[in-house]
Symmetry: C2
Subunit: 389 residues, 2 copies
């Protein structure tokens, strides 16, 4: 396998947008091309994540239209990937593998999604389609409900009083909003307090409003290339050193909902390929669709022992200057969550961090970064380990 | 790149089914595993095509649920591809490339779709989502409308009287239905005459009812493996020798709607990789969503000169015992068209033909077969060249 590098990155402001999926992707892609010193006509393929384009804009078969939207040559392959919230990360993985295996030398990868056009009822309904249709969404299970159950089970399993866990969860939200204030592209740029979280409306017990990420619109894109041919193309190339993807099916197959086994399988592939341990990771963007989701992710990714994730946030271990800074971008919680674009935005942030271009939210001296994206509740996880030499 | 072989194949009866997408896929996959002498737990990855599962059954994030449905190990990657009608072929391509590049040794690929549950109005609306949402489907363009325009333009460009072209188109339908009668898995098993076609209701001038393929339910699956490790696994392995995929954007970028440039780009990649010429192909399953679509496809695939496809059907060149048998399975027209499963069913037929297991519809001595699938009207084409040694 050949070495794959990121040449350039681009991302739209996340939030509510009046632009179409195609227009948002074009903004992100043209920015990524510009800072790669590459023209669209030189790209050999496109790999895109999108989850709900049919419901949002009546558009399936999106990939070829994105390719022509940004001026790629007629006749180049363009492929859409859908893995619920992990759609873009899965697209990035396949783009990186296509370069690594010598099929292409230069490709563009990313994600685009426009959720807010649907309104909350349709968005809630369509988001639940990422669950198993016969056994979960059909019977009314939604993601807030699932992660509410995860929080209860976590408290019970580790003997943590629920009120104490709720405070730890609140600290996740406070940290994410604090980081989001330092990210001009974040959906929310507003500080919140623990009291704001604990005083918010109940969504799915014990999750309150600020425990949940928002629906957002947005797009992000990365230009990937063969290191052998393109290593002198840009001043700060970032290398793919480990990639993982794993699936684990519906809830009824999960023995312990406080651990996402797909994540453990995926990240162990990625760490092994990169030849690193969790303690080698300097910065991580992980899938915090809910505050409890961040806590359990920090454990499965190996940063803290199982049952230790809540205490770690209490100690400040995951803050910008902590032991392992988590979601410096603001995460899904504050940066926003345009489903099929989320993984690309996570990769955007990690590349920016490794390049040292994150200003006030920069994790000092970051050399190794991890992307972690969850699709559905337990069913798909994709991880990327990126490195700056 | 390593050599990739097909170990086993499976397919459901196409038509109207009361089974879910997951159940249909399981039937096809378990059949493919059985005739591969492989167990599901040995599979390393799943690559699936599906187009409209969100609308059909409220299911996105389908791939991981299919993997567990058939008993694959927890932790294996499962990925959904969506490229409108070409979804399964694109999934097969990526599965084959994953084996060719050494990422996996043994994978399952395929497609599943359940269109009839939607009813015709919703099916028509959602099918049109494969067109460009702002410039085509939004303004009322549907696929019958587009291919009606193609027929008019074809008649005009080549100076063929429209009534004569309609008879050639009718012969395509008659041939497909005749072949479908020999395929126990075909949706339609009913002979029709030229008069039946020309006497049918008008759909989109000059296309009449029998010029159009139906909506169907169905699934098909193939087990792919590294030839080096698995060549003695089954008595009749079929080899992947050429693969192509290309995109060409929306209608407004097409200079000549009688030629699908994405097809020409894709099939030339596939022929080049296989080291063959069009005249080397013994049997072809191509994308006959409409009768005129078959005629123009036979030209772009290089079987006949441009403008000569209509005369070729008149001469019987594409019938079972003709110069180049096209769609011995009955094609989309008679075998049926479960959108995201169609490409996998085409590959199923070609493998079965190359193994010499097609009974009355067998193309004698077939050694090289071509799969051709079109996604959207002009935007995505994927081709596979398969060979039996």
């Amino acid at each position: 396998m050949r070495e794959v590098i990121v040449l350039g990155i681009g991302m739209t402001k996340f939030g509510k947008s009046n632009l179409s999926m195609k227009e948002m992707f074009a903004l992100a892609a043209l920015e990524a091309l510009e800072n790669s010193n590459i023209e669209a006509k030189d790209l050999e393929a496109l790999f895109i994540g999108n989850t709900l384009g049919g419901f949002e804009e009546g558009q399936v078969n999106l990939a070829p239209f994105l390719a022509t939207e940004i001026g790629m040559r007629i006749g180049t392959p363009a492929t859409r990937f859908e893995a619920a919230c992990a759609s873009a990360t899965v697209a990035i993985r396949h783009g990186a593998l296509a370069v690594a295996s010598g099929i292409h030398d230069l490709v563009i990868v990313g994600g685009t999604e426009r959720t807010t056009i649907m309104g909350t009822p349709l968005a809630t309904k369509t988001f639940s389609m990422g669950s198993h249709s016969e056994y979960e969404s059909f019977s009314g299970v939604t993601f807030p409900g699932v992660f509410g159950m995860v929080a209860h089970q976590y408290a019970r399993k580790y003997g943590i009083p629920l009120e104490q866990l709720k405070k730890s969860m609140a600290r996740v939200a406070v940290k994410s909003h604090s980081n989001g204030c330092l990210n001009p592209l974040a959906h929310f740029q507003k500080k919140i307090t623990i009291d704001d979280v604990l005083g918010g409306p109940m969504i799915a017990d014990p999750l309150q409003l600020y425990d949940c990420c928002p629906f957002s619109d947005g797009a992000a894109a990365l230009v990937l290339a063969d290191a052998g041919k393109f290593k002198n193309q840009v001043p700060k190339p970032v290398h793919f050193v480990g990639i993982g993807q794993a699936s684990a099916g519906p809830i009824y197959l999960q023995k312990d909902i406080t651990r996402i086994v797909a994540r453990e399988a995926s990240v162990s592939q990625a760490y092994k390929q990169a030849g690193i341990k969790p303690t080698d990771v300097d910065v991580c963007e992980l899938h915090d669709c809910f505050t409890i989701a961040e806590i359990i992710a920090t454990e499965s990714l190996g940063f803290f022992e199982f049952g230790g994730g809540a205490a770690a946030i209490d100690r400040g271990d995951t803050s910008l200057k902590g032991k392992i800074p988590i979601n410096p971008s603001g995460g899904l919680k504050a940066k926003g969550h345009p489903v099929g674009a989320t993984g690309a935005a996570q990769a955007y942030e990690i590349v920016k961090q490794l390049r040292g271009e994150c200003g006030e939210r920069q994790v000092e001296g970051a050399k190794i970064g991890l992307v972690d994206t969850l699709g559905g509740d337990f069913s798909t996880v994709c991880n990327l380990v990126l490195r700056r030499y």
